[in-house]
Amino acid sequence: MTPHVVDVPVLETERLILRAPQASDFDVLAPFVMSDRANFIGGGVDKDISHAWRILAILTGHWPLRGYGVFVLVPKDGDAPIGSMGPWYPEGWPEPELSWTIWDANAEGKGYAFEAMVEIRRYAYAVLGWETAVSYIDAANARSIALAERMGCVIDADANGPDPDDVVYRHPSASEVLA
């Protein structure tokens, strides 16, 4: 029996269920972490499967340590997870971040990340009580920058990211989003 260690709400959008990370997610997460698509988030072809497993364990353990964490996205018309997104605030982060990662390349370009992030940002502001949020994006990650802009984020040149190559995108504030 798996002990209950993580209280994670289930969020829902038109096409997606957003739920806690779970052991079976590894089948989709591991190939992603070990691919060049994960270069921007600490993965890559030089990473091994033990590194991938630890990432799944970290995604999970972040929840009880911070009281929030990333959700795993599962399309309602399928069973397999396609990515993880949400509040992320590990040691060394200047401030709590709203992060997003699409694991499954076939799930890109369908607006899933935008759809999930709009709901997750609402959750961060309305339920977690955040008043502001950033997303740290590698300057070379054009897809991610496009999503940030679509969400109304603007570059905050005065804020620092955890990595020198990061650009800090500041989301519209809680009062703007919840208005």
């Binding site: 209950h4 052991a23 091994d48 364990a57 999970t60 353990g61 009880p64 340590l65």
Partner: protein, 168 residues
């Protein structure tokens, strides 16, 4: 909930946020050399999160060992991806060695692995230069298992007594 175990002097409970400073300090010290190596605070935090995530993913994991209300180490079950088999591991923070706490906690953890968790065998993977840890394994009745697969070449495999032997 992560089960809580109680021994004569110790409480073994799930790791929590308040245990983080001691975990961070251990991995910033030379004592981490045989426990995966020195880590800065950023790296250590991810390992700390993974300790808790391990419980969620495997259904078992490492307990925080508490003595008189203070965390003194982590002892319990460890089975990350690529580990050949399920391990019983121990990390004792600086200043709490030499008083038999690790052995006391490891015995309680092992009893729980063999009991509620249903394990039929257990190993401990120990760096060949970690003489203190090897001495503890021997004190727990473990024997070198030279035929067992190890997770990395610097590691010796110590096999714990079987459930029937421990219970006898």
């Amino acid at each position: 909930m992560i089960p809580t175990l109680t021994t004569e002097r110790l409480i073994l409970r799930g790791p929590e946020t308040r245990d983080w400073p001691a975990f961070r300090d251990f991995f910033a010290s030379d004592r981490a050399v045989h426990a995966g190596g020195l880590k800065d605070a950023k790296q250590a935090w991810t390992f700390f999160a993974a300790e808790i995530g391990h419980w969620h993913l495997r259904g078992f994991g490492m307990w925080t060992v508490e003595q008189d209300g203070a965390p003194i180490g982590l002892v319990g079950c460890w089975y990350p991806e690529t580990w050949p088999e399920r391990e019983i591991g121990w990390l004792i923070w600086d200043g709490f060695e030499g008083r038999g706490f690790a052995a006391e906690a490891a015995r309680a953890a092992r009893a729980h692995c063999y009991g509620p968790f249903g394990w039929d065998t257990a190993v401990s993977y120990i760096h060949r230069d970690n003489t203190r840890s090897i001495a503890l394994a021997e004190r727990l009745g473990c024997q070198r298992d030279v035929g067992a697969v190890h997770p990395n070449p610097d590691t010796l495999v110590f096999r714990h007594p079987a459930p029937a032997e421990v219970a006898a």
